[in-house]
């Protein structure tokens, strides 16, 4: 429990209205997007400046109070759950877009800016920030940086780390540092910017970010390809790429997901298909036309039973809405869902899918597959019920084997959701102990009192 006197100190820093201590408020900051992790903080603070955060960190460090940064609370690895209590540093009010620089194609933002708000502001300037976690309606730039988030568009554009030029960070000690800069090229010692990207709030609080932007592509097209075998869909992903086309998105829905989406919002997806791939191409109109033709040709050649090109944006929007509804479809159908985040090299996608199918049979559990096929990040999800012990135990075993299988295929245990609390046991098992030691050494150097989001990652 936090010392009563500290509350008064915090009120002096951020103002009374920005300090929450009621039982109800603390409960409302005990969770994030996961279902299995809940822990209440002792206090929730809403700072709105770097100076306020520095002042808070100085006190927390002196008093050894845990601090858990929180953006939109949409992560799905337990990252913003204050698992050891202490302070939740809620950054939702620290949310200004400080500058959009059209000439240099950069933007400077505070950490609480929600991605969709940034996108809307950038669109008005003919610009865009390519990383597109599908939680863009709730996720903040701070959380996106801390999780190195990426969405469907990473096939062509990559993930968050490729778009961060520089950061301002408040360290656990309360010191403020700037890493990186505003230039595209920057080789000045170790690349500390990357250290903070994907640090899951364990090394410091990101208080300002310099983002690299792209010009908004003037045209885009959506293609839906239908397959009678999900493994064939998996193969199609790298066939398209090896034939010289890099779509900006390639997403996969399996038969189960297609049918749940059709139940939720009938939109004419082929219910008997074993899988569907959604492609999107973007760029200048002529290139988009050519790429679309090429995708249709290759998909047909490698076993798609039907290929449809969305005739207008409305039809395209419908398909992408279906894709976004995929997660809800999965979560709405079982009391407990393990949404895995394994990622394999693209060429191994068919193997991973086959593996999932085998395991589903072996353990008699439902395993559904939907995800960012374009980058090998598949989100196999196991439907179970924590209250049904026998079923749950089988689901856990299946999950363990999926993860082992993915690693054997040369993959990783998390593509985009991070380790947090959810993936700790696999992290320990799979990561080289020497690597973990280096990470722990860095953590001890930056955060000697272990107050920044303690209990996460290892």
């Amino acid at each position: 429990m936090i010392k009563e006197s500290l509350i008064g100190e915090f009120e002096k820093i951020v103002g009374k209205e920005n300090v929450l201590t009621s039982k109800e408020s603390l409960k409302a900051y005990s969770y994030d997007g996961t279902s299995s992790w809940i822990h209440e903080p002792d206090v929730v603070l809403f700072p709105t400046s770097t100076a306020e955060i520095a002042a808070i960190m100085k006190i927390a460090n002196a008093e050894k109070v845990p601090v858990t940064p929180r953006g939109g609370g949409t992560n799905v690895s337990g990252g913003s759950v204050p698992i050891q209590g202490g302070i939740v540093l809620a950054l939702a009010k620290f949310n200004k877009i400080i500058r959009i620089d059209k000439e240099n194609m950069t933007a400077t933002v505070e950490p609480g800016v929600v991605l969709m708000d940034l996108n809307m502001a950038l669109a008005r300037e003919g610009l865009f920030f390519p990383p597109d976690p599908q939680s863009f309606l709730g996720a903040t730039l701070g959380g996106i940086i801390a999780e190195n988030a990426g969405g469907p568009a990473c096939v062509k554009y990559g993930v968050t780390k490729q778009y961060i030029l520089g950061l301002e960070v408040v360290l656990p000690t309360g010191d403020v540092i700037n890493v990186g800069g505003r230039t595209l090229k920057n080789v000045v010692g170790y690349d500390l910017t990357m250290l903070f990207v994907s640090s899951e709030g364990t090394l410091g609080v990101v208080t300002k970010a310099e983002l690299k932007l792209n010009p908004m592509p003037p045209a885009r097209k959506t293609i839906m390809a239908v397959y009678d075998d999900v493994a064939k869909a998996g193969e199609n992903v790298f066939r398209v790429l090896e034939n010289g086309v890099i779509p900006n998105k390639i997403e996969l829905l399996d038969n189960w997901v297609i049918n749940r989406i059709e139940e939720m919002m009938p939109m004419g997806l082929p219910k008997d298909a074993d899988a569907v791939l959604l492609f999107e191409t973007d760029g200048i109109p002529e290139a988009v036309e050519k790429e679309t033709e090429k995708i249709v040709e290759i998909a047909k050649k490698y076993g798609a039973t039907d290929v449809r090109v969305a005739k207008d944006q409305a039809e395209a929007d419908k398909y992408w809405l279906a894709r976004r509804a995929g997660f809800a479809a999965v979560f709405g159908k079982a009391p407990t869902v393990f949404a895995e985040d394994v990622t394999v090299p693209r060429g191994r996608i068919p193997d991973l899918i086959r593996k999932c199918k085998e395991l589903a049979k072996k353990y008699a559990v439902e395993i559904v597959v939907l995800g960012h096929a374009g980058d090998g990040n598949l989100h196999p999800s196991i439907l179970t019920d924590i209250k049904n012990k026998d079923h749950y135990d089988r689901a856990v075993k299946a999950m363990d084997e999926i993860i082992e299988g993915a690693v054997e295929l040369g993959g990783v245990i998390s593509g985009e959701h991070g380790i947090g609390l959810e993936k700790q046991k696999f992290f320990r098992k799979i990561e080289n102990p020497k690597v973990i030691d280096i990470m722990k050494g860095i953590k001890a150097l930056v955060d000697p009192n272990n107050i920044m989001n303690p209990g996460k990652i290892w």
Partner: protein
């Protein structure tokens, strides 16, 4: 806790739908001002589930939290899991009223309003006119429809009519051409039209009788109950539902020009039923309810090109505000726009964020007027961007709030009900 949690158990399934993705925060007008979890569907839902699990009680703060919701359903419309937070919030309010009494939720904020002597005087006067709904006493003041309670607080609000609509119209109004009626329609006035906009009521009766429809206006009709059952007083809500069901027998349809009323009457079945008989009766009743906008376009199938614009609106530019109770509760979006576009001599300009709640939210605006003003500011920005001369809508509740905020923002626009534009 001694509570049976009966009302909460009815909505347990709705609460379980939420997967905590946080997408609602983007759409919630309250969250967008406050940026706190307890403002938005995800947080409210989580806390209601905590009550169901026995981990949380109906504390005064819990009352604040479930009270601070506009019931605008923007979160519902955009929720990937289709979580019906309106049901969760209303169910929680009902449980709270059941366990703790109505005063518990409202007392604190109500006292703030009451301390204004002048405003209080007006409530008492109004309350005296409400005797036909409620027994005498201070309790009926609490039950005044929210938009009437919103009087005072320094608002620019239209005056109460000298003669209420109910005292100005006949019970049976035959088609004006003297022919056999094509249809027999019950007209539901709604409190705002009855007490503040009686002219609007006369207008709609005229509009319908001109087109061969017989309009009955049963005197026994009561308040729709929105202000009452959305606050959680289901007992009174069911009484009003019964009054209204009994008042409207032998009609083909029941039409109202108040978007909140039409949705409230349709939705007795969603919130109020306590047994199967009620469920059935509410469902049957709901089927007959039509909002005036959908009645004109979908049922009467009026040839819109023949509608005549009133002279005073000639050459004006109009913009449309979607009442939450039309667009999200009833999925009525195109009908009013079709009418506006068809009116020759009128220019129609779509405003950005047309579907954004105006900030009224029934009792919300009484207890959280500061938030109402901030939310309305965003609406005002949308209106300004259109350069429209008039703001058109189809809910007297919204009209009251829009008039207040247009005046407060010193904007030139006039606010009208859609039917006021038509000859």
């Amino acid at each position: 806790m001694s509570s049976d949690l009966k009302e909460l158990k009815k909505i347990e399934k709705d609460a379980d739908q939420c997967m905590k993705c946080g997408f609602c925060s983007f759409f919630c007008p309250v969250y967008q001002e406050e940026h706190t979890e307890t403002s938005v569907a995800r947080g409210k839902n989580f806390l209601v589930k905590e009550i169901l699990k026995g981990n949380q009680e109906f504390t005064p703060e819990m009352g604040e939290i479930i009270g601070k919701c506009l019931l605008c359903k923007r979160c519902v419309a955009n929720c990937p899991s289709k979580t019906q937070i309106d049901r969760v919030v209303v169910g929680a309010r009902a449980q709270m009223v059941k366990d703790k009494g109505l005063g518990f939720i409202k007392d604190f904020a109500f006292r703030k309003v009451m301390s204004n002597r002048k405003a209080f005087g007006r409530y008492v006067k109004l309350a005296s006119k409400f005797q036909w709904i409620f027994p005498k006493g201070e309790g009926n003041i609490r039950h005044l429809p929210d938009f009437l309670k919103a009087l005072g607080q320094g608002r620019h609000i239209p005056a109460i009519a000298k003669t209420f609509l109910r005292d100005q119209v006949e019970e049976v109004n035959k088609p004006q051409d003297g022919k056999e009626p094509k249809m027999r329609v019950g007209y539901f006035m709604g409190c705002a039209t009855d007490f503040i906009y009686p002219e609007l009521g006369k207008k709609i009766i005229d509009f319908l009788t001109k087109r061969g429809i017989e309009v009955v206006v049963p005197k026994e009709q009561n308040c729709c109950g929105a202000a009452i059952y959305f606050s959680g007083d289901f007992e009174t809500g069911r009484k009003l539902a019964k009054d209204n069901i009994d008042a409207f027998k032998d009609v083909d349809y029941i039409v109202t020009a108040c978007g909140t009323c039409s949705s409230t009457l349709k939705d007795y079945k969603v919130y109020l039923p306590d047994n199967e008989d009620q469920q059935k009766a509410y469902e049957e009743f709901g089927k007959k309810i039509k909002d005036a906008t959908e009645f004109v376009v979908d049922v009467m199938k009026v040839n819109l090109d023949e509608l005549k614009l009133k002279k005073e609106f000639e050459g004006k530019t109009a913009t449309w505000h979607d009442p939450c109770h039309l667009i999200r509760y009833q999925n009525i979006k195109e009908q009013p726009r079709a009418i506006l576009r068809a009116l020759k001599g009128l220019k129609f300009a779509e405003m950005p964020n047309a579907d954004l709640c105006c900030g009224m939210g029934g009792s919300f605006s009484v207890y959280h007027y500061d938030l109402t003003k901030k939310i309305a500011d965003k609406k005002m920005a949308g209106i300004k961007a259109t350069n429209a001369d008039i703001v058109v809508t189809a809910c007297p509740g919204c009209m009251i709030n829009l008039i207040d905020n247009v005046a407060r923002s010193k904007m030139p626009q006039k606010v009208h009900h859609l039917l006021e534009l038509v000859e």
